[in-house]
Amino acid sequence: MVGRPLDESDLIRRAQRGDTHAYEELVNAYQGIAFRTAYVIARNASDAEDAAQDGFVKAWRALGRFREGAPFRPWLLRIVANEASNRRRSAGRRASLALRAATQQPSGDAAPSPEAALLSSEQRAVLLAAVDELPDEQRDVVALRYFLGLSEAEVAETLGIPQGTVKSRNARALARLRESYD
C-alpha cells in the first residue's frame, strides 16, 4: 500500500508533537538548501555543515513557537543563517566562493542554460571576484537572492532584516557590481 505523501504542515504539526520521524522528513527536504545557505555565509564547508546541523537541532527545540501557516523554509533558514553568521564572526576570516573547475561546461552533459551561456569564463571569474569584494551585508543578500534563488521576502526573513533593507542592500550591491560587469 502506498501512503499519501504528507504535506509540510502535517509534518510540522507532527514534529511539534515530538514525532522525530516527521522531523526527519523535514530535515531531508531542507538539508540541501540549509547547507548551501550556511555555506554562502560561512564560506567554509565544515562550518556550514556544523551550522546546518546546529540549526536543525535549534529549530527542533523552537518548533513550539513556529506559527502555523507561516512558511517553514525561511523560518528554518533564519536559524541556520544565524548559526553560520556566528561562525563567520568567530573565524574572523573572509573566504571566497569557488567556481567549478569545468566552468565552461556545467555539470553533466546538459547544455548550459541560456543565461549561463551569456557569460564567458573570464566574466564569471571577474563577477565572482566582485561579489567577493562586497561588504558582508551586501554579499549575503546577493548570494541568497541570486546564487540560491531565494525571493526578496525569503532573504529578508533569513537574514532577519526588513524587506526594504534587502532592496536597498541589493541595489547598492548591484551598483557596485555593475562597475565590474559593464
Binding site: 538539508q31 546541523q53 527545540r61 523552537a62 542554460s113 551569456l118 566574466q123 541570486y146 548591484l174
Partner: protein, 194 residues
C-alpha cells in the same frame, strides 16, 4: 530582471558547493540524547548560567536582588519591553542587568554575552527543580533551593531569591529571576526576545 541579475543567477549555477554529508544521523543522535537529559544534568546549563550574578552573591536568602552587581546606573543598559519598568540598571564586563517591576513583582533581568549555558557546573539539591522550557534556542525553568555553583574560576554557595528562567538566543544568555510563576515568566521572556 536586468542583464546583471541574470548574469548573477547564471553564476550561481556555476558555483562549486561542496558535498555535504547527510546530517540527519547526527541530528537524530542529538535529539535522542536530549530525551534522557536529567534535570541535574541540564543544570550544567541552568545554574551555571546563574553566572556572574549569583557568583558574586553572598550566601543568604535575604540578599538584596542585585547584590554583587556593583553600583546602580541611571542610564539604561538594556533594551526592555514596554510592559516592564526598570528601577535600576547595572553593567559589568560581559553583563548588563536591570531591576524590574512587572505585574507587581520585582525581578532581576540580566543579559550575558555569549553562551553561558555550558560554562560551569551546578549541583542541585533534592529540593531544586529544573525543567526544560520552550524559549529561545534552549531554556530552563529553575525553582530555587540552596545549591552550589561551580564555574571556571571558583565556586559559591548561594540561594535563589526566586524562580529563575534562563534561556539562550542568538548568542546571548538571558536570565530572569523573581517571584513569578513559570507561565508569567515565559510571557515576559518572549516579550524580551520575541
Amino acid at each position: 530582471m536586468t542583464e546583471l541579475e541574470r548574469a548573477l543567477a547564471a553564476l550561481g549555477e556555476e558555483l562549486e558547493f561542496p558535498q555535504s554529508r547527510d546530517v540527519w544521523p547526527r541530528i537524530a543522535d542529538r535529539l535522542r540524547r536530549r530525551r534522557w537529559v536529567r534535570p541535574a544534568v541540564f543544570a550544567l546549563a541552568a545554574g551555571v548560567a546563574a553566572l556572574a550574578i549569583a557568583l558574586a552573591v553572598p550566601p543568604a536568602q535575604t540578599r538584596p536582588f542585585a547584590t554583587g552587581l556593583g553600583p546602580a546606573l541611571t542610564q539604561p543598559t538594556l533594551k526592555l519591553p514596554a510592559s516592564v519598568t526598570a528601577t535600576k540598571y547595572y553593567k559589568r564586563p560581559g553583563l548588563a542587568a536591570a531591576l524590574l517591576r512587572y505585574r507587581g513583582a520585582q525581578l532581576l533581568f540580566a543579559e550575558l554575552r555569549g553562551d553561558q549555558m555550558g560554562f560551569a557546573k551546578k549541583f542541585v539539591g533534592p529540593t531544586t527543580h529544573a525543567e526544560e522550557v520552550r524559549i529561545g534556542e534552549w531554556g530552563i525553568w529553575f525553582t530555587g533551593a540552596p545549591h552550589v555553583l561551580m564555574w571556571d574560576s571558583g565556586t559559591a554557595r548561594t540561594r535563589l531569591a526566586g524562580n529563575v528562567l534562563i534561556w539562550l538566543q542568538n548568542g546571548v544568555t538571558y536570565r530572569l529571576e523573581g517571584q513569578l510563576n513559570r507561565d508569567r515568566m515565559l510571557v515576559l521572556a518572549r516579550q524580551i526576545t520575541p
